[in-house]
């Protein structure tokens, strides 16, 4: 028994959910729900505890990077992909978020899915997802990380398509997987390039070697830049950034807990995690950094604008997720990795909370998702209302809620960054205003004003405690979650940044140097941020509480813009028209029908027909008339004589034939 037993058996952490998944998947069909529940909850809960234990040991060991190779999974030539797990500060954050939030959501699901068919399927998928997600965050090399990466994609495919009888659900699942695959295409190439460059895919080796490389000048496409961009392509796919964000809104077809866990809290943040994890590479390539920042910033704003007008409560949350992820990338892009991860964590709390609360609302209304058909629920489902409000305040960035600190840190960092910092800051700020607006719009439309649903039919009821419990816990987290990173000027040392220091080392110390000068500025900026949030709040209040008519008038007054937003800038339609349909048409008519059947196969059969046609000719020379035969003999005689006598001249031709 080694000291740090848990770390040395780290594989148990991911394995437990896998076991749960396997057991439920194989036997769940026959079991009553409670067995299934037990299996799922215990497996994930245990893995949460194990994770905690592992973290404890990690801290005891003085936060030294722990890395262990368990077995080799692919080996060819000098390439080795091992089942290697590692534990460092970044991992700690991710593991705790994943297992913790994951566990809560499992508990929530008990109530939420109670009356759904395929209960066992749901939990076995969910556990499978946990397994892959843990692999992803614990992996110590890109290959294994890719396993988790693809695996979570798979489980999201399964969970989005959970209600596979609905075509829309099945479509959404497929779309999610394929769009992710497009990202993975880049990710794989990135891995290949890294292997080609560093002869390995282990984080440790790559980063060690990469550190010695010179920084690549801005705008210069060096190896590292290309590698980073390729990896980032993967990240855009997984984390729903421009231009590959299209799958996430559709993913709301899945059950709400899934949206909460996968499409808000954990999986979609994998892209951010990868970028943060590969920060050594990124920091060596300003170009890549800038790209990340711009994409992130643009997505943050773009998604927010769409979020303004959506009416489906989950769609709004989905776009806000996209936009928040944009913030995280913005953070990484400007080098504030710890801030990015910090926002990742807080976002995990409040976005999960938002989704679960929304789920609770939907649950209360018996499956209704359209906000225009809600309203005035505040009094009826207080707990839900309260928790959701907290979450909203957090995401809007109102102090002292979690969102405020993380978002503030990001904006501050972007403001400071050399390359186009001001622009990024401005856009980010604008996005913050929009965020505040559409979130409060959601709140007001849902909980305030008059009920717009048929009160006779729909009997609104508060959700069971199995669902409210997680809400409360998450609400607390979204309140206090930010205080880890109490910025210095509030007198509190930035625990979080310092904690992640060893990982993102270099960058942070630089910040520390600028600290003194920065305090003043930071104070102002945070003020500005709060103001921005309040503006958004105010506008929402004015439009949806004070004079509800106004909103529609505004919408009418700017019809084209409104419809454009409502239809999400027609991006899906664009893709369909520009990529999907042409490809299918091409494959059907050109490649298959024309090239394959008519062209190649036609040629083959054509040769056959030609041969038999000639054969028919030969056959008809067989006229059955002896005289003709005699003439043939004579002809043959002449041929033979000609060949034998006039050879020298004929030979030239014949040799030509021979050659």
């Amino acid at each position: 028994m080694p000291e740090q037993p848990m770390l040395h058996y780290l594989w148990i952490v991911p394995l437990l959910p896998l076991l749960g998944a396997a057991v439920n998947g194989l036997f769940g069909a026959k079991w009553p729900n409670k067995y299934v529940t037990a299996t799922a909850i215990t497996s994930t809960g245990l893995s949460f505890l194990c994770a905690l234990e592992a973290v404890r040991e990690f801290f005891l060991s003085g936060q030294a990077l722990f890395r262990k190779e368990f077995f080799t999974w692919i080996a060819a030539g000098n390439f080795r992909a091992g089942f290697d797990l590692q534990m460092d500060q970044l991992t700690v954050v991710m593991v705790l978020v994943v297992t913790g939030v994951g566990w809560l959501i499992h508990i929530y699901s008990i109530g939420y899915m109670a009356h759904e068919g395929g209960y066992y399927r749901f939990f076995s998928y969910l556990n499978l997802f946990m397994f892959f997600m843990l692999i992803l965050v614990l992996a110590a090399n890109y290959a294994l990380l890719f396993v988790g990466w693809e695996g979570v994609g798979l489980s999201s495919y399964l969970l989005i398509g959970f209600w596979f009888l609905k075509k829309s659900a099945a479509d959404a699942g497929k779309k999610a997987f394929i769009v992710n695959r497009i990202g993975d295409f880049g990710f794989m190439l990135g891995m290949f390039l890294l292997f080609r460059t560093f002869g390995s895919l282990d984080f440790a080796q790559i980063f060690a070697k990469a550190d010695l490389w010179p920084k690549e000048a801005m705008g210069h496409l060096g190896t590292l830049t290309i590698a980073c961009l390729l990896l980032f392509m993967g990240a855009t796919g997984k984390s729903a950034q421009l231009p590959l964000y299209v799958w996430l809104p559709d993913a709301m077809e899945g059950p709400t807990p899934v949206s909460a866990l996968i499409h808000a809290a954990t999986m979609v943040t994998a892209g951010v995690y990868v970028v943060a994890r590969s920060h050594v590479l990124f920091t060596h390539s300003p170009t890549a950094m800038l790209v990340v920042a711009i994409v992130g910033c643009a997505t943050a704003f773009f998604a927010a604008t769409i979020g303004l007008v959506q009416t489906d409560i989950k769609k709004v949350l989905a776009y806000s997720t996209v936009s928040q992820l944009g913030y995280m990338f913005l953070a990484c892009g400007v080098g504030a990795f710890s801030a990015g991860i910090f926002h990742l964590m807080t976002h995990a709390f409040f976005k999960a909370l938002l989704f679960l609360a929304a789920g609770s609302v939907i649950h209360a209304l018996g499956g209704e998702q359209e906000m225009p058909k809600m309203g005035g629920l505040g009094k009826k489902i207080r707990w839900t209302y309260a928790t959701m409000l907290i979450a909203t305040l957090a995401i809007a960035g109102i102090p002292p809620f979690a969102g405020f600190f993380s978002k503030d840190a990001i904006l501050f960092a972007s403001f400071q960054s050399k390359a186009g910092g001001r622009v990024l800051y401005a856009v980010g700020l604008l996005a913050a205003v929009l965020t505040a607006f559409y979130m409060f719009r959601l709140i007001f439309l849902t909980f305030n004003g008059k009920p717009r649903y048929d009160e006779k039919k729909v009997h609104v009821h508060e959700s069971p405690w199995s669902m409210l419990g997680p809400l409360v816990v998450l609400a607390i987290l979204s309140l206090v979650g930010g205080w880890f990173a109490l910025p210095a000027f509030y007198g509190g040392p930035d625990y979080f940044a310092n904690f992640l220091g060893p990982v993102f080392g270099a960058r942070e110390t630089v910040e520390a140097g600028a600290e003194a000068a920065a305090h003043q500025l930071e104070l102002i900026l945070s003020g500005v941020a709060v103001v921005a949030a309040l503006i958004g709040l105010a506008v929402a209040y004015w439009l949806y509480i004070k004079n509800p008519r106004k909103a529609d008038d505004v919408a009418k007054s700017m019809k084209p813009a409104y419809t454009t937003l409502l239809n999400k800038y027609y991006v899906d339609e664009l893709y369909a028209a520009a990529v999907v349909r042409p490809l299918v048409w091409l494959s059907t008519n050109v490649f298959w029908k024309a090239a394959d059947v008519a062209g190649i196969d036609g040629t083959v059969n054509g040769i056959a027909h030609g041969a038999s046609a000639i054969g028919d000719g030969v056959r008809h020379s067989q006229s059955g008339n002896t005289r003709s035969y005699a003439v043939w003999v004579v002809a043959g005689a002449i041929i033979v004589l000609a060949v034998i006598f006039f050879w020298p001249s004929a030979s030239k031709i014949a040799v030509g034939l021979v050659r």
Partner: protein, 530 residues
């Protein structure tokens, strides 16, 4: 020369014995016949497991060689041997044979005896091809295996079976006869059919092929193999053959026969004609990549489920060919692994398609839809296999593709980039077809009552699933054993190595440089003068 028992001969001829035994049986007791066939094929598989002991890890060169004089003039020998690559391909064969016997347990009802006889004879031919070290012997088995396959397609196939069978045979023959010319020609240059000997001669520069000749010879061999694989423009026999063949036939065809082509490339094209291979590599790669993308796209839009799988094979084997002609150790190993993986996954896919056919007697996707409600088990297995085939990590499909792309990237990143598109497309066509077949509401009422997987089917599919998973996680078990062999091939295929040989040859006076065309010109002059 003769080292270590007669395991290889046993492996080749044991099924013959089985087939003869079956012929002796009365034709009407189907159950008994099936059991015997099963017994034989399983026993064969168990025998073949002994190979694992016979081929120690890291052993380069051929193991368990058997050598016996056969025909004095021209010197043709009964020369067998096995190395890491062929060993696993044989294991694949001997594994898939019982599976297909099992799979055709109930689906074959007419002329049962002949069916299993043919299946066993097919196994004989294939195993023989993998073991043969004498080129003549190789060709012999190569041709032998045609007939049983043709019969399997032609007698127990579907509507257009005859067309498909004849097409299959003619296509393959067209290639293989040219290969025969090539083999004979090589014999004239070297005076032997013995592969190791020829490799020796090349190694120590006794034999140096003049470039043009080498290229022609390379083509003679390559075309034959390319048809079998099949490489892009020569693939049109495949859809017909697959769609018309009975399930077992498709499994063997996709699982094993297609591999013969790739195996031939590894075993003959590269080592014997290194420089030509290198010169041709660019074009071959282009064809392979076209095959990958084109195959995927075409399969995406197939209305016929079995054809869809068939075209997907074109795409997957494009990867294999690419991996071979990328001339990188990793990609080579990837190619070998991909062969095995494809054998299993696509075999499993065909099994599933066959099971659907047994229930509905159609392959038209439009005839299915929403099947996961009536047949959840089949749906689950299908999804699993589809995922392995689209290369999900931790399943077998991924390892091969990943290694191929990784290795290819090290040499020509462009090729890898293009080929990687196939990874996206494979997801498209598999998931799309999966959705159309299994998701949504049941579209046709008569599908509502379909029975789910029977016990037998469950076991078959479970077996396949286990292998898929094992190959995905425990791939080093295979790669460690193939490493040495692939390394040898790579060394033999190294061009600078060939250049050295040339240098040595020029030093040696007795080195014969052979040319197709010098001689006839001389003769023609002589005729003209006389």
């Amino acid at each position: 020369m003769l080292s270590g028992g007669h395991l290889l001969s046993v492996l080749i001829f044991f099924p013959v014995v089985g087939a003869l035994a079956l012929m002796m049986l009365r034709g009407d007791d189907h159950k008994f016949i099936r059991s015997i066939a099963m017994l034989v094929s399983v026993a064969e598989f168990l025998f073949s497991l002994m190979l694992l002991r016979g081929v120690p890890i890291g052993s380069s060169g051929y193991q368990l060689e058997e050598f016996a004089k056969w025909i004095p003039a021209p010197p043709i020998h009964y020369h067998l041997g096995v190395d890491g690559i062929s060993m696993f391909l044989v294991l694949l064969t001997t594994f898939l044979t019982p599976i297909s016997v099992w799979a055709s347990w109930n689906s074959i009802q007419k002329r049962v005896k002949e069916f299993f006889v043919m299946l066993l004879l097919l196994e004989v031919g294939v195993v023989g091809v993998f073991f043969a070290l004498d080129m003549f012997l190789f060709f012999l088995f190569w041709e032998l295996m045609l007939i049983p396959m043709a019969f399997l397609i032609g007698i127990w196939g579907h509507e257009r079976r005859v067309y498909a069978a004849v097409k299959f045979v003619l296509y393959t023959m067209a290639g293989s006869i040219l290969m025969l010319v090539g083999i004979i020609w090589l014999y004239n240059a070297t005076g032997t059919f013995d592969l190791p000997t020829i490799q020796q001669m090349l190694a120590n520069g006794q034999l140096v092929l003049e470039p043009r000749t080498e290229m022609l010879l390379f083509l003679a061999f390559f075309v034959a193999f390319a048809i079998k694989v099949p490489v892009f423009p020569l693939h049109t026999w495949l859809p017909d053959a697959h769609v018309e063949a009975p399930t077992a036939g498709s499994v063997m065809l996709a699982g094993v026969l297609l591999k013969l082509g790739a195996y031939g490339m590894i075993r003959f094209c590269l080592p014997l004609f290194p420089e030509a291979s290198h010169r041709a590599a660019r074009w071959v790669a282009v064809l392979a990549i076209i095959g990958i993308i084109y195959g995927a796209l075409v399969s995406m839009v197939q209305p016929n489920l079995k054809k869809l799988v068939a075209y997907s094979s074109v795409s997957h084997l494009g990867f294999v060919v690419l991996g071979i002609f990328a001339f990188h150790h990793i990609s080579m190993q990837g190619a070998v692994f991909q062969m095995l993986a494809h054998g299993i996954s696509t075999g499993a896919l065909f099994l599933l398609v066959g099971m659907l056919y047994d229930r509905r007697h159609t392959f038209e996707i439009s005839e299915f839809g929403g099947l996961s409600t009536p047949v959840p088990k089949l749906a689950a297995f299908f999804l699993f296999v589809a995922l392995s085939s689209l290369g999900l990590p931790m399943l077998n499909g991924f390892v091969g593709e990943f290694l191929i792309l990784l290795g290819t990237y090290q040499r020509h990143w462009g090729w890898a980039a293009w080929a990687a598109l196939g990874v996206i497309l494979s997801a498209c066509y598999l998931l799309w077809s999966y959705q159309r077949v299994f998701f949504g509401d049941v579209t046709l009422e008569k599908n509502r009552a379909l029975p789910d997987a029977s016990l037998r089917e469950n076991w078959i599919l479970a077996t396949m699933a286990v292998v898929i998973l094992w190959m995905g996680i425990g791939s080093p078990f295979i790669t460690r054993r193939t490493a040495a062999a692939t390394q040898t091939v790579m060394d033999q295929a190294e061009p600078q190595w060939a250049y050295e040989a040339t240098a040595r040859a020029n030093a040696k006076p007795h080195a014969k440089t052979v040319s197709l065309h010098a001689a006839p010109t001389i003769r023609v002059e002589r005729l003209a003068v006389r």
